[in-house]
Amino acid sequence: MGISVVLPRALVPYARGVGTLQIDAPCPTVRDALAATAARWPAVIDRVLTEQGALRRHVNVFVGDESIAFLDGLDTRVDEGATITIVPAVSGG
């Protein structure tokens, strides 16, 4: 069944126009899910994580409806069939 990774509009071009990515590999955590995403779509994850693997400051990631900022961050557990949604934070100037 795998998991789904939903991209914001700005990142869709880096996934060759696909807005929802399907990951079939086992992904116990968000970190694993993003690593699996990076393996196929590295340009997407370059924009989500820094080169040190940290989530960029103004990017939010949700598992289901819950922000990982209020769970365990990148170590947040991901269940089979879950949907991970990447969202630009409400920030700017």
């Binding site: 990142l11 880096y14 590295p42 370059d46 924009r47 820094t50 934070a89 920030s91 700017g92």
Partner: protein, 377 residues
């Protein structure tokens, strides 16, 4: 000046480009050599901050390079070979720190094409403070390890803009020598092609430290020099205007006749090695031009004296500020001088700074202004 069209573009030899980076995108202003009328393209990268721009026309290129920063998706360098009609969209982040450094790219603060003898070399200075080198004209980049692993790094402190390497000065005669400036670390020079770097801040004050004359830790805002006399450097400090006649080994105070020695930008004249422009600000606590008069100061005697240039600039209630890369000078004769303010006004002079005119008044806040004359380098 012969009229020759640049392949694939409407620009001709002698045209002047003024590249303006703002907090919400980049704009390209173009004029013929008269610099009387300007056309503008932009915004490029709408919504993204552009703190660095450069034009590289070595080896037959007409390449614009832009350091673009998305608040959400990070920073990158993008290039255009058709004067901004199209831009590269790098799949991967080309400027990236090695994992062993523990650092992550925050911003590209400076892009400088290398010496003419090295037509594929481009340098960039970034935040957190580091120097990167490209050997393929700006497509791929590698950090300069001698600076990345410098023993002073743990003690470098970020200034208000972050810990940024914002200035790169090349020695046109000596390929192993170059200087860089970091806020807040000071001026560093290499004489061995980047393998080792030594702080060169003797005489430059650090008013914000208990020790006013440390080996390093000065908040240097910008350094400039003239290629014909590369050993003579001019430095705008966080308080202090300085000159060095020995490639930074020693510095002398040259704040003679300026209303304040606080400021950010400083730029050399293209044909007169002892002519330099600066835009003083009131103070570090009130970063607007002194007395709310928008004045560019010019020295023609290497800092022995400075005189204001005001014709065409507002001389009352002008609460303006210009950032470190907000001032540029083109290579025509007389030189064109350009500066952009944080309030989005772009001023131009085609007369060495004697007369000024606003050529844009409602841009987003201006981060950098660069200029180039199109044609044989």
């Amino acid at each position: 000046m012969p009229t020759r069209r640049i392949s694939g573009a409407r620009n001709v030899v002698g045209d002047v480009l003024v590249l303006v980076g703002t907090t919400k995108g980049a704009f390209v202003f173009t004029s013929d050599a008269s610099r009387k009328r300007w056309r503008v393209d932009g915004p490029h990268f709408p919504g993204e901050a552009v703190y660095s721009l450069a034009f590289d026309q070595r080896a037959g290129r007409t390449r614009l390079l832009a350091g673009v920063h998305s608040n959400h998706w990070g920073a990158t360098i993008r290039t255009s070979d058709d004067f901004g009609r199209t831009w590269s969209e790098p799949e991967r982040q080309a400027v990236r720190f090695p994992e062993s450094s523990g650092l992550s790219l925050a911003q590209v603060w400076q892009i400088v094409p290398g010496r003419p003898e090295e037509p594929n070399v481009v340098w960039c200075g970034v935040e957190p403070a580091a120097l990167f080198r490209s050997d393929d004209a700006g497509v791929s980049w590698a950090p300069v390890d001698g600076l990345l692993e410098h023993e002073h790094r743990p003690k470098w402190m970020p200034g208000g803009g972050g810990l940024c390497l914002h200035t790169i000065v090349l020695d046109p005669a000596n390929p192993d020598r170059m200087g860089i400036a970091i806020s807040t670390a000071g001026f560093y020079r290499t004489d061995d092609g980047g393998k080792s770097w030594r702080a060169r801040n003797s005489g430059v004050r650090a008013v914000f430290l208990p020790d006013k004359h440390p080996e390093f830790g000065q908040c240097v805002h910008k350094v400039t020099h003239h290629p014909a006399r590369p050993e003579r450097l001019f430095l705008q400090n966080h308080w202090g205007l300085y000159r060095s006649d020995d490639w930074g080994d020693s510095w002398q105070d040259i704040a003679n006749g300026v209303p304040s020695d606080f400021g950010f930008p400083i730029q050399s004249h293209p044909h007169e090695p002892d002519t330099v422009y600066a835009i003083p600000l009131q103070s570090d606590e009130f970063r607007v031009v002194p007395e709310a008069k928008l004045r560019v100061y010019r020295t023609r005697d290497a800092g022995a004296s400075w005189a204001p240039l005001t014709d065409g600039l507002p001389q009352s209630r002008a609460f303006e500020s210009v950032l470190r890369d907000g001032l540029a000078v083109d290579s025509h004769e007389p030189a064109g001088v350009y500066f952009g303010t944080r309030s989005g006004k772009l001023y131009a002079s085609s007369t060495d700074g004697e007369q000024w005119k606003a050529i844009a008044e409602s841009l987003p806040s201006i981060c950098c202004v660069k200029t180039a004359v199109v044609g044989p380098a």
